[in-house]
Each structure stands twice: as structure tokens, then as C-alpha cells.
């Protein structure tokens, strides 16, 4: 039957992936199938947003990870041979997509940021970053299926339309998985979504200790913005929540103003702020790469410079 498939674990993922899927389906004159976890987006919601068919994943037994659904998804995919299968590039999505690709001997475009169907060649063309963000890799898939993962919030979610119809089918429960979840430690608090922030003050490794981040927060408050961070602060030191990590392995932001404090300006981080209107920085090393990647910046110690900036802002 072919078609475009989306596989979603949450409602937000389903809507965004349907939005991405609808970029392809009309051009390819094909249908959209939404494979969704029960309790995420409802079949009606998926159909209104462009799905022609909804396949409901069975509820998992306690302790079964999302990856347990793999054999069920594989079997359905083999039966209907979709052209493309879209997943969200979340931890579970990336793992499941890669494992499914191996089983189907399919190509996989990881962290795809642009997507189109090229009628002339009959192939799906995709873009992603390579070399830490120093390069843009353009991939073409002519063989089906191609599996694609999409970083959350890269595409517009699909809007609901009136009068749409579609079928719904429940999928069987998967066999038990070899990997078992023995404990879940939910995150205490989901932090702010910085992808829509107008102003971001980003703290880097130039801060000496966790308490000092208060200085960056003060500047963010003074500028009416949010706090962001480089990966060492969220990933290695755990001074700030992971959702605040900007860059290749974090989020892509597009503020009107980005202020980097004690950020060296490695490409993996700076690729995340390519959409910023104005980039400025404070770094004590005049040879730090961030200066060439900023509109303007101060060469100096952030502990001396930031209080002065705050003072000046008040006058």
C-alpha cells in the first residue's frame, strides 16, 4: 500500500510528525499512516490532522520499554511497505528508528532538518548537519523505505482540518522484551522551553561554580530573557537541566538576542544559535572562536564585566 508513516509516543510528536509527513504525502500522491501509542494523540485527532489510517500501539506491560514495540512495528511495515517512516529524534525515538532500519535494511537520515520530495528523480531529499554543524549534508533516498528522525520542534505541527475521514486499527501486544525497566526516575521539573525565547543568556564553562550561574540569571532577567547553557554544564556538571542545552545534541534556538558568557564557541554549540538575529559574547580569551561567530563581544572576565553591564543597563 506504501504511504508515509509516522511513529509517535506523545501527542506533540504525533502532530509535528504529521506536519512533516504532509510535506511529502501530497507530492508523492500517497497516504499518511499514524502509528501512535495509546493515550497519546487520539485517532480522531490524528485523522483530522492528516492521517488516513491510525494504527494504535497496544499498551505496554509494566517494565516494558518503548523499544518492545519493535517487532509489531516491523511486521506492519513489512506488510504495507511504506515509502518513509518518520520518528521524533528523542532518546527512545532514535533508538527505535535505528533498530527498525537495521531490521528493514533501510537507510536512516538522523536528525533531519529539511525534507522534500523531488518529483524529477522520484526521491526523498533530506538535510542534516555533519562535522558538528560545520557542514550540511544533503541525502537522497530512492529506495523504500527510508527512515527519518526529526528533532522535536523542527517542523510546524499539522493543523486540524474539517471533514476528514480515516480508519483505525488496534495493533497486537508485543512479545516481552529482553530489556526490562526496573525503575523510573522521572524528572523533578520540566524546565522552560527556550526554543521560543526572544532573549537567551547562555552560561558556559567559564563559570567557576554552580552558584555563580545566578549572575547569568540576573542578566537574563534584566534583558527579559531566559537562561541557556552549553553541554558541559548540563551534561557533565549537571548544574542546569538538560533541556537548556543549546546545540547539536541539545536544542536549536532562534532568539532576537543571544548572549554567550564564558562560552568558547565550539561549532557543536554555535550551530544551535545560527538562527539568532544578534549574537554577542563575553570571554576572557581574545582568541576564543566565539568572537568570530559573534556580532560583537567583550574581551574580559565575565565576573567583572557582567556586573558592569547590569549596572549600565539600569541607567
Amino acid at each position: 500500500m506504501a504511504g508515509i508513516w509516522i511513529v509517535a509516543e506523545t501527542r506533540e510528536q504525533a502532530f509535528e510528525l504529521l506536519g512533516a509527513g504532509r510535506l511529502l504525502a501530497p507530492e508523492m500522491e500517497t497516504t499518511v499512516t499514524a502509528v501512535v501509542a495509546k493515550g497519546s494523540a487520539s485517532p480522531q485527532e490524528c485523522i483530522a490532522r492528516g492521517a488516513d489510517e491510525v494504527l494504535l500501539l497496544a499498551e505496554l506491560a509494566p517494565g516494558e520499554p518503548f523499544g518492545a514495540q519493535l517487532p509489531v512495528i516491523e511486521q506492519e511495515a513489512r506488510a504495507s511497505s511504506p515509502h518513509a517512516i518518520l520518528f521524533s529524534a528523542t532518546a527512545r525515538g532514535k533508538e527505535t528508528a535505528a533498530r527498525l532500519s537495521a531490521r528493514l535494511a533501510a537507510g536512516l537520515c538522523s536528525a533531519c532538518t529539511a525534507l522534500a520530495f523531488d518529483k524529477a528523480t522520484g526521491s526523498i531529499v533530506m538535510e542534516r548537519l555533519a562535522y558538528g554543524g560545520a557542514a550540511i549534508q544533503k541525502l537522497a533516498a530512492s529506495a523504500a523505505p527510508v527512515v527519518i528522525t526529526i528533532p522535536p520542534r523542527s517542523f510546524e505541527p499539522a493543523e486540524a482540518m474539517d471533514g476528514r475521514q480515516g480508519k483505525t486499527r488496534e495493533l497486537p501486544a508485543p512479545p516481552p522484551s529482553a530489556v526490562k525497566i526496573v525503575e523510573r526516575k522521572p524528572k523533578e521539573k520540566v524546565s522552560k522551553d527556550i526554543t521560543e525565547a526572544r532573549v537567551i543568556v547562555c552560561a558556559g564553562r567559564g563559570f567557576d561554580k554552580k552558584e555563580d550561574i545566578a549572575l547569568a540569571r540576573r542578566l537574563a532577567d534584566a534583558l527579559g530573557g531566559e537562561l541557556g547553557a552549553t553541554r558541559p554544564l548540563t551534561e557533565e556538571l549537571h548544574w542546569l537541566p538538560e533541556d537548556l542545552c543549546i546545540g547539536l545534541s541539545g536544542v536549536q534556538v532562534k532568539p532576537e538576542l543571544y548572549v554567550g558568557l564564558g562560552v568558547s564557541g565550539q561549532v557543536q554549540h554555535m550551530t544551535g544559535v545560527r538562527g539568532a538575529k544578534v549574537v554577542c559574547s563575553v570571554n576572557r580569551d581574545e582568541n576564543a572562536p566565539i568572537f568570530a561567530l559573534s556580532d560583537f563581544g567583550i574581551v574580559g572576565d565575565l565576573y567583572e564585566v557582567v556586573p558592569k553591564i547590569l549596572e549600565k543597563l539600569e541607567t
Binding site: Y131, S142, E183, K185, K187, V267
Partner: protein, 256 residues
């Protein structure tokens, strides 16, 4: 005593990539390195070996003959021996091809192993695919994005980081894990480590010693340099510099 396989890749250090004429990538002055996160994979393999009271760490890398330097670098990080799967055609392999090559080498040349450790992603492609693909091809359980790991009684216990928190999981061995950078701090090899590395066994596997066809599934239509450069005005940390900085902020229109 565990046998642990560590997969690592010798990659272009992206710091030295320049933007050439017409947006082409200029590799003329590049240097190479073992991918950042692959160093965590090697370190974790070594730690698990030592925690298991011995055993061995077998490194495996797929690359062009020039990657020989990477094999020695890997061995200086505590591995016991290495498989170097090398061919001039192994240059811009897709993750699907790399996984297929690794699977054949491991299946045919490493008869018994307890754990395979991969990095969270390679430093050049950062596709985050090779690990989970390899696990499927070998038909073993796979746990990705692991921040904490222990092995006991033929099982692994891992903390795996997901968007909504942490999942503590268990799986029977042999299994494959991909590790996050905060799982450990990779050692920096000393002179002695480098000298010792030269004495460790390296088994080179050539393309024609393998049976697979290793065809790619996707086509790279273009690889172009992205430009992040801006005007780059540098200001001093004196009162004039601060004044100009705040002025520029105001001019940007985002603050009053």
C-alpha cells in the same frame, strides 16, 4: 572475567575544517582524532574489564588505511588488542554500512563476548545509528544513552537517560550499550601508555577477507560548509567598551 568490545572511529577534527570556494568543505589542513564520545566508550570498556577482575577489551574500528594512527591511539587508552578493518573504499561509509561491516567482523572473529560499548554518536556524522543497528544485526539486546553501568551475574544494569527522566534497565548479556559523555572521564594517555600501545596485537582485516556486499541505502547528494561567521567586533572590558556593548544591545531593538 568479561570480554568487552569497544567500537571507535578515527575522524576528522572538525575544528580544522575551512569553508572553501563556493561553500565546499576544505579539508586541506585537517587533523584527525578519536571521536570525543568514542573515548568514553573505550574508557567504559576498560573500567568494566577492571571491575570484572580482568578479562580483555577488544577495540574494533572500520576505516581507511590512514586510520592506523587511530588504532594506536585507541590502544594507548587501555584496550588489550584491536581489530583494524581497513580498506581505501571505507572512506565515507554510511552508518548502515559501518554497522554491517562491524557485525560481520564481530560475528566471525570474536566468538565470545559479554558486552559491546559504542559512543553515543560519532564526532563527524553524529548519526547515533551504528550502535543500535549493530545490536540488531547481531541479535543482542541494546541499551542506548547510558549514563551509569554495572555488570553482574551475566546481566547488565544501566541508567539510561530519556527526555522525561531516567530509566533504570536490566538486560541479559551479551548486550550492546551506547554511552553518554558523563558516564566517565576518559584518561589522557601518557608516554608509557603510548609506548605500550605499540606492543599490543593488532589484527588487520581487509575488504576481501569479508563476505558481505555492504551496499549503502542513501546517497549523499551534497556536503557543503555552513557559515556561522559574523562581524566579530571585539570590545575592551573598560567603561567605553561596556557602554558600546550596552548601546549595541539597545540598538538591536530587543531591549529598551
Amino acid at each position: 572475567m568479561p570480554t568487552i568490545v569497544a567500537c571507535f572511529k578515527w575522524v576528522v577534527d572538525e575544528v580544522y575544517i575551512r569553508r572553501g570556494a563556493g561553500g565546499a568543505l576544505d579539508f586541506s589542513s585537517v587533523d584527525y582524532k578519536i571521536g570525543e564520545y568514542d573515548r568514553n566508550a573505550i574508557e567504559e570498556a576498560v573500567r568494566q574489564r577492571d571491575a570484572g577482575g580482568g578479562g580483555s577489551v577488544i577495540g574494533v574500528t572500520v576505516g581507511t588505511p590512514e586510520s592506523a594512527k587511530g588504532v594506536k591511539d585507541g590502544l594507548s587508552r587501555g584496550m588489550d588488542q584491536a581489530f583494524f578493518v581497513s580498506d581505501p573504499s571505507f572512506k565515507d561509509l554510511e552508518p548502515s554500512q559501518t554497522a554491517a561491516i562491524l557485525a560481520e567482523v564481530i560475528r566471525s572473529r570474536i566468538p565470545q563476548y559479554d558486552l559491546i560499548a559504542c559512543g553515543e554518536g560519532s564526532s563527524d556524522l553524529y548519526a547515533q545509528q551504528v550502535g543500535p543497528r549493530l545490536a540488531e544485526l547481531l541479535g543482542i539486546p541494546c541499551v542506548c544513552f547510558v549514563q551509569k553501568l554495572s555488570i553482574e551475574g551475566g546481566r547488565l544494569r544501566a541508567e539510561r537517560r530519556v527526555e522525561d527522566g531516567v530509566e533504570v534497565v536490566e538486560a541479559p548479556l551479551p548486550a550492546l550499550v551506547t554511552v553518554l559523555p558523563d558516564i566517565n572521564t576518559p584518561r589522557i594517555p601518557g608516554v608509557r601508555d603510548t609506548l605500550m600501545a605499540g606492543k599490543k596485537p593488532v589484527i588487520t582485516v581487509k575488504r576481501d577477507e569479508l563476505t558481505g556486499t555492504f551496499e549503502g541505502a542513501l546517497k549523499t547528494a551534497a556536503m557543503t560548509a555552513s557559515s556561522l561567521e559574523r562581524t566579530g567586533e571585539k570590545l575592551a572590558a573598560d567603561s567605553a567598551g561596556i557602554a558600546r556593548f550596552v548601546d549595541s544591545l539597545r540598538k538591536s531593538g530587543v531591549i529598551k
